[in-house]
Symmetry: C2
């Protein structure tokens, strides 16, 4: 299809499609004349992915680009690609740095992982994100006690295991699925939790 139809079908404005082409985030079309190129389903899929990551999940361009790079240049195992891509969702820290042992930089987060025991490792950048979140609850006077963490730990872990168990076998599809699933299901889980809080709060004692 022509670029204008690609824009229509993806729901991405034409100027934006041209921008993604210039930036190399969308691969060039097949050149058919001096001024024309055609685009196929792979382009449409790619545009929808970019749109999901930026507009729907709200990721900044730099982190969207990082995820696309992982998809375009599969390096190492599917597992390590998954790790880097999921890490790229977070604004804190470096998505490629992996495990950290710097306890003093993340005192609350390390203490929380100690209290949770098996199954959670201090991986960047989620560990930095956890530190920020724990500092905030400390500040409002509802600290994450080990009793509270003991509730979250196993339930969150069970959710994450079930989510990743359904992943496709193909490497690139797996990375896409994992990244979108991690980002896009946060609001679903938050809405269910608020709904549960409201139901429990308004339940006659």
């Amino acid at each position: 299809v022509q670029i204008s139809e690609l824009a229509d079908r993806s729901g991405v404005p034409l100027a934006r499609v041209k921008f993604y082409l210039r930036e190399g985030m969308l691969p060039p079309g097949l050149v058919t004349s001096a001024t024309r190129a055609t685009y196929d389903d792979a382009h449409l899929h790619r545009l929808r992915l970019i749109r999901s990551l930026t507009s729907v999940a709200g990721l900044p361009l730099a982190r969207t680009r990082k995820i696309l790079e992982v998809l375009d240049a599969p390096e190492g195992s599917v597992e390590s690609m998954l790790g880097v891509a999921v890490a790229a969702l977070s604004s804190e820290g470096d998505p490629t740095s992996g495990l950290t042992t710097d306890r003093s930089a993340y005192p609350r987060a390390f203490a929380a992982l100690d209290s949770l025991g098996e199954g959670y490792e201090p991986r960047m950048p989620a560990i930095a994100q956890l530190e920020v979140a724990l500092a905030a609850v400390d500040e409002v006077g509802i600290p994450a006690t080990s009793e509270r963490l003991a509730v979250y730990g196993p339930h969150v872990r069970a959710i994450a295991e079930a989510e990743l168990a359904g992943i496709p076998v193909d490497g690139t599809a797996a990375v896409e699925y994992a990244v979108l699933g991690t980002a896009m299901y946060e609001p679903v889980i938050a809405a269910l939790r608020r709904l549960a809080h409201q139901c429990i709060a308004t339940r006659p004692a």
Copy 2:
């Protein structure tokens, strides 16, 4: 203490403290002369609460004000106050409207609750928030199947029950605790889930 010390101790800029006083969100101090007033621990507590809700939880002023109104004019049971205050956290819908039966406005959310069964009611505005979140996952091609919902439902419900079981007995303190806990623990849970995803993703098969 004087207003300048109140600002220092709360971490809220002086101009902002004066704004909250003008808006009635912070009650007036005890007038000690024509140009002076003093403030006590209740003022400090209130300022810290406003700061937590706006800066830390990121709530807009209108919804922060709604929560303060519930705290200031306790009406009805603690349960109904809790429901209104927790509902006021969400941007979608009217926090005072409670249960809804309008299935056609929230088709995905109602279908999800049908699939979850007991324990979740269609309460505004969380049901509107759920509809938006479910539409987004549909759009990226990872729909919330009943298998997936069957994973989230009981785990999220168990988390919510444990969270609200620890609530203080006193009415106003209970509302403060529930609202802050609901809002401020969302990032903690999200960080733990991302950490779990990273750990599972990078685990050797």
